[in-house]
């Protein structure tokens, strides 16, 4: 077994990002509004809803993978999409994994605001569209924590992408599934090299986000 070429490493890394980043963007696009809506209001059924989100934050990715698998398999409810063992299936599974993380951390950040904050902003006569902007600015530390946690969760995840992606060479093989494969093949040195890339990737992304997070501080 020849070691993978540099080109292959770049390809696997690029595919990892091509799966994780869209999943992250989708999870944020859906999760942030939900988090803000739940976090900023008091309504009946809020407590069960929040505990549902908290359960989702701890949902084992491999279980998510299994459920997505059943949804997408040929005879499953969404079998006609032919998404199983494709990047689409992996993105879907990662959105499901990341969504509760985004919602949970966002609503915690909104909930942690001073109770009078909303009142103050209202009394100051800030127009509604600016209020949202102010809110986002106010909770930006929490928001970036949500982004980093969600990204870390899906970037390092292997069970779900293995179950629904299948680790197909050139199609659905990402860093984590490749590491697992080379480990099981006894190619420990290659696995270690890929692991270094994965950790480096997380380091760079987390570093960038942290720089953004801290830049607004005075």
């Amino acid at each position: 077994m020849s070691p993978p070429s540099i080109g292959l490493l770049i390809e696997i890394t690029a595919r990892t990002l091509a799966v994780c980043l869209p999943a992250l963007v989708i999870a944020l696009a859906i999760g942030l509004p939900i988090g803000i809506a739940i976090g900023g209001r008091r309504f009946k059924g809020r407590v069960p809803l929040v505990s549902l989100v908290n359960t989702g934050m701890g949902a084992p990715p491999v279980v998510v993978g299994l459920l997505v698998y059943f949804a997408l398999e040929r005879n499953g409810p969404f079998g006609e999409l032919s998404w199983l063992y494709s990047p689409q299936a992996m993105i879907l599974a990662q959105v499901v994994i990341a969504l509760p993380l985004v919602v949970g951390i966002t609503l915690a950040a909104v909930g942690a605001l001073d109770e009078d904050w909303d009142l103050q902003v209202r009394t100051l006569g800030v127009p509604k569209r600016w209020r949202l902007w102010l809110l986002l600015r106010e909770i930006r530390l929490g928001l970036l924590a949500a982004v980093i946690t969600a990204l870390g969760g899906i970037l390092s995840e292997v069970g779900a992408v293995m179950a629904v992606g299948g680790n197909l060479e050139g199609e659905t093989r990402v860093l984590t599934t490749a590491i697992l494969m080379y480990t099981q093949m006894g190619e420990l040195e290659i696995a270690l090299g890929l692991a270094a890339i994965l950790v480096g990737l997380m380091l760079v992304l987390a570093g960038l986000l942290t720089a953004v997070q801290q830049s607004g501080r005075s």
């Binding site: 077994m1 299948g166 680790n167 599934t177 099981q184």
Partner: protein, 280 residues
Amino acid sequence: MIRIRFFFVLIAALVQLACAEKAADEGDLLLVTTTSVRDSGLLGALLPVFEEQTGVRAQVIAVGSGAALRMGSDANADVLLTHAPEGEEKLVASGAAVSRSPIMENYFVIAGPPEDPAGVRSATSPADAMRRIAAASARFVSRGDDSGTHRREIALMKEAGLDPDARWPGFLSSGAGMGQSLQIAGEKRAYVLSDIGTFLAFQKRIELEALSQPGPSLRNVYSVLRVDPARLAPERAERAKQFEAFMLAAETQQMIAEFGRERFGRPLFRPLHLEPQPAP
């Protein structure tokens, strides 16, 4: 540096404390085998009997044959049960393993969708079947993980006069275990090479059919290899010997011959040391 070491030792001590119960009866015998053996359920039937007879408890680790052989050559296992004859012989030649004992055999099948777009059913030999699949650019799921099955794919391709590194448009490399590769093939309606045992276990779910006829080039022999006793603790080497003897014993061979009848209506393995040989 010393401080890091200290913390490591501290953590290790805590971990050991947490596993104190387990460590006491850990690892009487470390058996490394292939996923196809584990997935067949054979060891689940044999090992309790082994323990009853010898008092030795086997820990089973299931990996691809490539990794299994490497664990053997690194002396990270006591005994191996694998199906990669060439690699096994190399391991014995290198001295890392002693005594390769063929235990049982079954065969590989080329499975595929019942419509059989590449015409594998009418192939004259397994190699011809591979040639047809490649010529039709039909979908084919390769294990691609240096397992015994993957090595057989390569051997078949060579026999067919194909370049083993050749890729045709339908060629998919899963790098996954046998079960998952079968599921991928089922989902993609692709051809796949599988050992008969795992195929039967998955057949219903994946809706693929065995299209090839058993032939010499699809023969699949499982052997027990003992790791060089000089590199093991003496009691481990002794238990490895006990395991080898157990697998060769007539009683065990009879159990192997029976295994699978209940669940699949036919045996999954044919023991090699049972006289007289029952018809396959």
